[in-house]
């Protein structure tokens, strides 16, 4: 399973699984607090961002593929939606600097491997599945338009 995850993502997953269930929520909150503000070039251009309708809170993301073919994910979600912010932050940190191939190889249901189904509930994790799906599709589009 590890072979199909970018190293950063695998590390995050292992960090969650190493914790007792109750403390996983605290780690998720730390991720929520770590979600960086959007770079100015996206903050000033909300039209570039895509709404993740699978999430119950307004979350928007933009997938960037740089000249070296590496992925950078930018996302924004309101402070009143810390769970969604946490998911976005895990995803952004997990795919940061990965190649497009590595991103596309991430299993669609990876959010369910973080050990959060009991503390967050499966329904809520589906929002993160939606974020991952959109990130992959955007990355494919970026590659298609640049080649």
């Amino acid at each position: 399973m590890t072979a199909t995850l970018p190293a950063a993502f695998a590390e995050i997953r292992d960090d969650f699984l190493a914790l007792p269930e109750r403390e996983r929520l605290t780690l998720l909150l730390e991720f929520a607090n770590e979600l960086p503000d959007l770079p100015a070039r996206y903050a000033d251009h909300p039209d570039l961002l895509e709404r993740v309708v699978e999430c119950q809170s307004p979350v928007y993301l933009f997938t960037e593929v740089d000249e070296a073919g590496l992925v950078h994910l930018h996302a924004t979600a309101p402070r009143e939606a810390p769970t969604t912010r946490g998911f976005a932050s895990i995803l952004a940190q997990g795919v940061e600097g990965a190649s497009v191939e590595e991103l596309l190889a991430i299993p669609e249901d990876v959010p369910f491997d973080l050990g959060l189904t009991k503390v967050v509930s499966p329904l809520r994790l589906r929002g993160m599945v939606g974020m991952l799906g959109r990130t992959k599709r955007q990355a494919r589009e970026r590659v298609a338009t640049s080649s």
Binding site: L25, T26, L28, L29, A32, V53, E54, Q56, S57, P58, R79, E80, A81, P82, T83, T84, G86, K118, V119, V120, S121, L123, R124, R126, G127
Partner: protein, 301 residues
């Protein structure tokens, strides 16, 4: 021992003013013997970002619903939950949450099914407390466990199942979802696409009163006269109506159940928590489309 009621004149006109407390009242009574403050949110992490000092958390997904079958926790699970939160059977519960108390009302309604006597909502919810600059903390209380009795849930008085709805035709139904869900334009709530049903529309004869209309801009409940205009003049209900309210999974209609029962004083209001996610997927169930309620089918015993 129950805690004294909030005597605020803004609440006095409601049928059961003892079911609401203002933020001012709560700020003065935090720490009172016999008072437990509960936060119940849509977002499972919001409590951890900061909550009213001393408040415990109840999550509607992971605490109040059975983890396997589609139903609420049973008497034993509820007793265990209350005990872990340090709640005694005769404690006064003041419940508040995000999104104008959607999930707070759901928790309150569920506590009512278990017969917990003194349950109140914080008028205006979490947002109002924070907007007023009142103190919040990330400190999580660790109350000593209590002996909470195992009580069988009463599923007849305030809860309706699909067969109850079919038998109810001819009496008032209230659909509290958005106008788009009611008319059949969409099968899911705006922003809630994953909680869908296979068919769109509403239960025939149900009147549309979106739940949020009961709430003013500042998040507090509207005055009684405005609520009467909304539900009596607007939706044809009467003080003695036998009503079933529904939404998508029963949480928005818990809010309407609270409004009709405790603020307007209707004695026969049930919440159909199966709601549209069940009715809209039931084989053979009658469905009406468009903005009109449509005719009630013959009731089925």
């Amino acid at each position: 021992m129950p805690v004294a009621h909030d005597p605020d004149p803004r609440l006095a006109a409601f049928a059961h003013p003892e079911r609401l407390v203002t933020t001012e009242w709560l700020a003065e009574h935090l720490g009172d013997e016999g008072l437990v403050v509960i936060e119940s949110d849509e977002d499972v992490l919001l409590y951890e970002t900061g909550h009213i000092p001393g408040a415990v958390k109840l999550d509607w997904h992971v605490d109040l619903n059975d983890p396997v079958r589609r139903d609420f926790v049973d008497g034993e699970q509820f007793a265990k939950l209350m005990s872990e939160r340090g709640i005694a059977r005769d404690d006064t519960l003041v419940i508040y949450g995000d999104r104008n108390n959607w999930w707070a009302a759901y928790a309150l309604w569920l506590a009512t099914l278990f017969g917990h006597e003194d349950v109140r909502l914080l008028d205006g919810g979490r947002d109002r407390w924070i907007a007023e600059g009142r103190r919040i903390t990330t400190e999580v209380p660790v109350p000593p466990p209590t002996e909470y009795p195992v009580v069988e849930r009463d599923d007849r008085t305030y809860r309706a199942f699909r067969d109850d709805v079919a038998a109810h035709f001819g009496s008032p139904l209230v659909d509290v979802r958005s106008p788009q869900e009611y008319s059949g334009e969409r099968t899911t709530a705006p922003d809630y696409p994953e909680e869908g049903a296979l068919r769109a529309g509403h239960i025939p004869s149900a009147r549309s009163v979106p739940w949020g209309k009961a709430v003013a801009e500042d998040g507090t409940f509207r005055p009684r006269a405005e609520l009467e205009a909304l539900y009596f003049d607007g939706a044809g209900l009467a003080p003695d109506s036998d009503v079933i309210a529904y939404c998508r999974i029963g949480e928005r209609s818990s809010h309407t159940w609270f409004t009709l029962t405790h603020l307007l004083g209707l004695e026969h209001v049930r919440n159909y928590d199966g709601s549209w996610t069940e009715w809209g997927s039931l084989v053979g169930a009658p469905v009406a489309l468009g903005e009109e309620p449509g005719d009630a089918p013959a009731p089925r015993a």
